[in-house]
Amino acid sequence: MSHKFTVAGVFSAMDVAASGLTAQRGRMNVIASNLANAQTTKGADGSPYKRLDPVFASTPVSPGSFDAVLKNVHEVHLQGVRADPTPGQLVYDPGHPDANSAGYVQYPNVNVVTEMVNLMTASRAYEAEVSSIESIKSMARAALKIGQ
């Protein structure tokens, strides 16, 4: 929820971590799209698939807060995707239906190894956020024990 927090406490931390989870999941979706289309020589607009990069942006969790720490705490969200303009490989294959007049086929600029590395990074980041949420819950439970 976009309500304002009063202190940099467990609830603000949880919101931030949740936004991180969503952003990483979005990133994994983009990577999956790149991997799936690594061989797509003719996309919807007729040109070869261009690999996509996620674009992240951050927004403050409690805008206008006077708390020195809380005003610097930001949530992340996936603002959109950006097409990678670098050209892909040209492969000589005159028999291919998408070959140009010189007999070359333009393949997408997707490097499967790079995408796999990105996928592992995103997956690790997701796990780290989950473990951060577990820590937050455990801290809150410890705080409840004070009152016992």
Binding site: F5, T6, V7, V10, L144, I146, G147
Partner: protein, 113 residues
């Protein structure tokens, strides 16, 4: 900036000693024929009164913080828990001192002829 409830209890620790510094003995008779001068010790009533005041203040702070948490406006978990526990201890401290005073009074009352 949240009010630190720890200052409430800390203030009781800073209470003046039962015997004011500068006077040799609380129970010494006033010297120099000062007439109707009061003994320089602070009475138990003062100490108890100050503790009750501290307990009231701690209780008010705890009540405020509990309301904030219950109504969803507050996000301060550990601050609320600490304030509530401090209020609880303050009240129990007052009651415990009152009990001891009563017991002491009863003992003295029984021994007097």
């Amino acid at each position: 900036m949240p009010v630190s409830p720890i200052t409430e209890l800390a203030r009781t620790r800073e209470t003046e000693p039962l015997v004011r510094t500068g006077s040799a003995d609380a129970f010494a008779p006033p010297s120099g024929g000062a007439g109707a001068s009061e003994p320089s010790a602070i009475s138990f009533g003062d100490v108890l009164g100050r503790l009750v005041e501290t307990a009231n203040r701690a209780d008010a702070v705890a009540g405020q913080k509990m309301d904030a948490l219950a109504s969803g406006a507050g996000d301060d978990l550990h601050g609320t828990m600490i304030a509530v526990k401090e209020a609880d201890i303050s009240v129990k401290l007052v009651a415990s001192i009152r009990t001891k005073l009563l017991d002491a009074f009863n003992e003295i009352w029984k021994t007097s002829v």
